[in-house]
């Protein structure tokens, strides 16, 4: 349980892993944006090939990405069905009352399906190749301009970093409390929904109390080590753009231009 981390980072040293986390974060959002530019077979094919190249560059097995699609599959199928049954136009293949399967409906359904899959693949690629901590660094670095508006960016980043740091600690604590309560006869994971919810109470309350204790200890330790908050601190962890990042940016530009020319 202690090995659990937020996200599903897979350590590696591929080209994608080595990109600056800021590049990956921005490029992922941008890429998801331009997926919406695709509106015909050619453009969807282009985006599909581009995504597959990125997946290949990460040296991560395709299975991990497909697993990312699985929890969303019912939502995807539902949306695809809506498109298939309610888009009118072109040749009608089948109809029953107000339901009809048409040529346009089928193509739209396929496009929506592709769109979902590509978006999931790209966001999975981001979380699989970037450590949560690096993502936190990236968010801090990218939000820095907001300091002008007196948003406490450095403090928020530290809060985020400490939260990530204490996830395994609290998981450990949870296991300990669960065992202690089991020894006292609390039954976790059986009974109806209401009984299960009730069993969580003796778990949550000690955990809640504990986390306050931890917070107090941590605050004392931070104080003793000279933490005064604010922007007067230097940073041990620095992010630096490399040639790779420029290249990744160029790829995004080329893709955008191609999409604009190829779309219907």
């Amino acid at each position: 349980m202690t090995k659990l981390l937020l996200g599903r980072y897979l350590p590696g040293d591929s080209w994608v892993h080595k990109l600056d986390p800021r590049t990956k974060l921005m490029a992922s959002f941008y890429y998801i944006g331009i997926i919406f530019l695709a509106n015909n077979w050619q453009t969807y094919l282009l985006m599909f090939v581009a995504t597959m190249v990125m997946v290949a560059a990460s040296k991560i097995k395709l299975g991990f990405f497909l697993r990312g699609v699985r929890p969303m599959i019912w939502l995807i199928l539902f949306t695809v069905m809506l498109q298939v049954f309610f888009t009118k136009g072109g040749t009608t293949y089948w109809s029953w009352g107000w339901l009809a399967i048409t040529q346009y409906g089928l193509t739209n359904g396929a496009f929506i399906f592709m769109r979902f899959v590509l978006i999931i693949f790209v966001s999975t690629l981001l979380t699989l190749t970037t450590q949560p901590l690096s993502l936190a660094d990236a968010v801090e670095s990218l939000l820095k301009p907001l300091r002008v508006l007196h948003v406490p960016v450095t403090e928020l980043a530290l809060v985020l970093q400490i939260a990530l740091r204490f996830v395994p600690t609290l998981m450990d604590q949870t296991t300990k409390i669960m065992n202690a309560q089991r020894a006292r006869g609390v039954d976790f994971g059986t009974g109806n929904l209401f009984q299960q919810m009730k069993a969580v109470v003796p778990l949550l309350i000690p955990l809640f109390v504990d986390s306050f204790g931890i917070a107090e200890d941590l605050a004392t330790a931070m104080d003793a080590r000279g933490y005064q908050g604010g922007d007067g601190r230097t940073k041990f962890r620095v992010l630096q753009y490399h040639q790779k990042d420029i290249f990744a940016g160029l790829v995004m530009v080329v893709l955008t231009v191609s999409l604009v020319f190829m779309r219907a």
Binding site: A221, R225, K235, F236
Partner: protein, 278 residues
């Protein structure tokens, strides 16, 4: 003799507490000295440590650290001189990885990054944790975490290091590991060490032992002097091992207990056979 810490007539009372936690405590600790402060729980040991670097503000009296009186203006300068290793290895680990944690104190003091990198490296080398530099705390043992905490302090190059029951949550191996490290560091750098402890071995490594009881200094002297005062004094200062306390408590409830000394495992075995014959 240069004085590292000088405390004169220090009094402290926690808000809402009936009794004062420290009563007229006066003591002087020389630069390079290793002093152990012992006393049972609630004797004011940790309160004293927190008064030295201004985590608590003295009620009355004068605290001088490295020649600077403890005042609101000096408090951050004093904290630069005094590093504290706390009891719980997990709750003082701020960084997401070992090297981030060691760098935390340096970041706070706005040390330029190139210097920070060398200082973090050197400190980790000194505590023998270099190979763990990029590990997350969840993958370290308690003793290793305390070594990282010590690295975080020596990276700041303080004059004084306070161990606030720093070994009390560790297993015997971790305790020995941390104690050996402190002895080595002290021999090398002549740092002043103040160790607040229940551990007999830790108290025995000190140059001087100060015994606190109910917020007052009861006795001070070399470990040999203190330990010859016999059982009673030891019971006043050093915690009776947990199995012994449990034995006494069970005996009071009328459970027959053997007289010989039992360690934890021995006691568990004894209790277990007791239950199965009932």
């Amino acid at each position: 003799m240069t004085v590292a810490i000088d405390i004169q007539h220090l009094n402290y009372r926690y808000p809402d507490a009936e009794k004062p936690a420290l009563k007229d405590v006066s003591l002087t600790i020389a630069q390079g000295e290793w002093v152990a402060i012992i006393g049972h729980n609630g004797s004011g040991k940790s309160t004293l440590a927190k008064n030295i670097n201004g985590l608590l503000a003295p009620g009355s009296g004068q605290v001088t650290v490295a020649g600077m009186p403890l005042t609101e203006e000096n408090v951050w300068k004093i904290r630069e001189k005094v590093g504290i290793v706390f009891q719980n290895p997990d709750n003082q680990f701020v960084g997401a990885t070992v090297q981030d944690d060691v760098a935390f104190g340096l970041e706070n003091r706005a040390v330029p990054r190139p210097e920070m990198v060398t200082r973090v490296h050197d400190a980790l080398a000194q505590v023998n944790m270099l190979e763990f530099a990029t590990r997350e705390p969840a993958r370290l043992s308690g003793g290793q975490k305390q070594r990282v905490a010590i690295a975080g302090i020596i990276a700041q190059r303080p004059d004084i290091i306070i161990l606030d029951e720093a070994t009390s949550m560790l297993d015997p191996a971790g305790r020995a590991e941390v104690l050996a490290l402190i002895q080595e560091l002290q021999a090398q750098s002549k740092m002043t060490v103040v160790s607040i402890t229940h551990d007999v071995d830790e108290a025995a490594s000190a140059d001087r032992v100060i015994l606190l009881n109910d917020g007052e200094v009861v006795e001070q002297g070399t470990p040999a002097e203190i330990f010859t005062h016999g059982e009673e004094l030891l019971h006043l200062g050093l915690d009776v091992p947990y199995p012994e306390r449990l034995k006494a408590a069970l005996r009071r409830r009328g459970v027959a207990m053997p007289d010989r000394y039992l360690d934890q495992e021995g006691l568990v075995k004894y209790l277990w056979t007791l239950h199965s014959t009932m």
